[in-house]
């Protein structure tokens, strides 16, 4: 695989996973930016385990997932049913706290960062293969789980909470437990994604996990479509890939082009490109085709 394609695909996959990690709690109206802090914490922890303690990458990745999940769970005990604004504030605060802690830990490079993360499997080709396969598997698993979630009673409960918390509560939805579940799963995804992000670059620097990353994920979700998981899948490669094709003269205007596109989308299509209605109509189209086939086969019988 050409090197630039590897970087394009792997970073796009990371952006999709991060966007999904933000999308999931947003189903109950929680903008949970703690995910970015979790990426950093798990990324640094896994890198330290691999480099200092020579823990195999697979184990370090699992620790990254677990660490993300644990932090997400502990925090969710306090903000599982908090209003959107409170969750945003907690997320921002957590990013600042984690940055300060990491900056002051010499064992993980402090403000300078961590260099020379090893090739998984011993050589660059195997490393890239393992990263790509892991990311692809993670995308499939998380994508499948999100799809199942959307079509489950939990997904419907989340939609009710998003629309009106009081109404959802009157319908018997346990808002706090639902919020805790989504926040914990979201942080678990972010933790593992952070580990993979560090190993793509083979180095870690705190500025890999800034508010710019939050901005990327937010743009992906809100322009792609915040009401379904498919918005991120469609927009992540476009947002990251298209600017790479711009000629140098246009590159300078990239931010202006982004801004104009964002304004246009917000004005013309505030719910984003991929809407729930679009997904439902696609699903009915596909299921309609399937029904026809079933009907035909029954007639044949």
């Amino acid at each position: 695989m050409p090197l630039e394609l590897y970087y394009f695909l792997s970073i796009t996959a990371v952006n999709i996973l991060l966007s999904w990690a933000l999308y999931l709690p947003y189903r109950v109206a929680h903008l949970h930016f703690i995910t970015v802090a979790n990426m950093a914490i798990s990324g640094y922890a896994a890198a330290w385990l691999v480099m200092a303690l020579h823990v195999p990458f697979g184990c370090a990745l699992l620790v990254g997932f677990a660490l993300g999940g644990i932090i997400g769970f502990v925090v969710s005990l306090f903000i599982g049913d908090a209003p959107t604004f409170a969750v945003v504030i907690v997320g921002f605060t957590f990013i600042f706290i984690s940055r300060t802690v990491i900056e002051n830990l010499k064992a993980i490079g402090g403000a300078m960062g961590m260099f020379g993360l090893p090739n998984i499997g011993g050589n660059p080709d195997t490393h890239r293969l393992i990263i790509m396969v892991t990311l692809a598997a993670l995308l499939l698993i998380v994508g499948f789980l999100l799809h199942r979630f959307e079509h489950s009673s939990l997904g419907r409960a989340a939609s009710a909470v998003f629309m009106d918390k009081d109404l959802a509560a009157s319908l018997g939805v346990d808002i706090r437990r639902l919020g805790m579940l989504l926040q914990t799963v979201s942080c678990t995804i972010a933790g593992g994604t952070g580990v993979l992000y560090g190993f793509i670059y083979k180095s870690l620097h705190l500025d890999f996990f800034t508010f710019a990353l939050v901005g990327i994920a937010m743009t992906i979700i809100f322009v792609g479509g915040y009401a379904t998981q498919w918005g991120a899948v469609v927009l992540a490669p476009i947002l990251y890939g298209v600017p790479l094709l711009f000629p140098p003269a246009v590159q300078e205007w990239r931010i202006v082009i982004y801004g104009a596109a964002l304004v246009l989308v917000l004005v013309l299509k505030p719910e984003g490109f991929i809407t729930r209605r679009f997904v439902v109509s696609m699903e009915s189209f596909l299921s309609g085709t399937r029904k026809k086939r079933n009907t035909l086969s029954r007639e044949e019988i």
């Binding site: 050409p2 090197l3 630039e4 590897y6 970087y7 394009f8 970073i11 952006n15 300060t100 900056e103 002051n104 402090g110 403000a111 300078m112 960062g113 260099f115 020379g116 660059p124 793509i200 670059y201 083979k202 180095s203 870690l204 620097h205 500025d207 890999f208 710019a212 990327i216 990251y240 600017p243 790479l244 140098p248 590159q251 300078e252 990239r254 931010i255």
Partner: protein
Amino acid sequence: MKKALGALIVAALILAVVGCQQPAPKEWDIPFLNSLTGQIASIGAYLEWGADQAAKEINAAGGISGKPVKIIPVDTALDPQKGSTEMARLVKNTLVALGPVPEPVIMAAMPIAVENGMPSITATTSLEYAQKFFPWTISWFPSTQDRLAPLVTAWAKQFSDLKKVVQFVENYGPWPGMADAHTAGLTAAGVRVLDPVEVPSDAVTFAPLVVKALNEKPDGFVFVCKPGSAAKLIKELKSRGWKKMDHLLLFSSADAPDLYATGGTDLNGAEIYNYINPGIDNPRWDGFKKAYADSHNGEQPPSLSTNYYDAVYMIKDAIEKTGVTGLSGKLKAERKLIADYLQNVKGFHGIMFDWDMKDGIPTNKPTYIFKIQDGQKVLVQEVKQ
């Protein structure tokens, strides 16, 4: 008939040989991975200007090995994601590159250059970052400790009443390491270093930081933070009655237009150290200053503006002195030739002074302490390692 057939075969062979030869490049394209948009776009702009200025001069003098050189700007937008993908694209065919800028992009992109054996000169970062990617880059600066400790000792020894100092430190990349080197230099001068005051990267108000620092009752301050923050801290100090302006020392990264624009005349009398001396008098440097002033409303060249200017000349030397051809079939070998040459350059004629490289590290670059007066720097002393 036989003769004609023989001639045909010879002609076919010649054509085959000629056809198989890869044409030499018509110009030397040097990509420059730089942050041309985003938070440090203003710095990226003058780094780019310096590299372009060198290319312009070189081309006017006949180019590199008789061929023109062109700097290709590659914007990484201070984004590790973009930086790594751009570097992955470049390592396929590029002989040698400039950048990346700054540290987060260096850390994301340089491992790709190293893995693919492509030299890329990171001329704005400290040795502590650059040396992780040796021999595929070089350091523009000696080790922070070797360079800064004697410099700060020299600054402190100017004042017999300087007994206690507080440092304002922003936790960014190499800056805490620079603050550590200052501490070593101050201690060597017999100055007590009090608890540092951390400057948050996104600080909006500076009064609490200044109050905290003044409570330690220091005789002087060293500023290791962004130019705008340093200027605001100094303004705040002055507003609280600080008089000994020469007992304030700003580190080199603060020497940027933002400092002077924000600080104005409140900076008068404060001292600042740097690696270039605008007061040096030689035709090349005079030409550089004039060209910069002409295209920047009369401004002086900022501190890092000559780094990539010199880097382009260093690449020129490397290509010409190692006989690099630029043929794509020789890419791997010629990249190695350039990398090896850059590691141990002897007597390089920089725009302001000559220097040597030993194993990728400059050995004899001077540093300077200046006094700030109405937005201009007046030389106080030159400090040699």
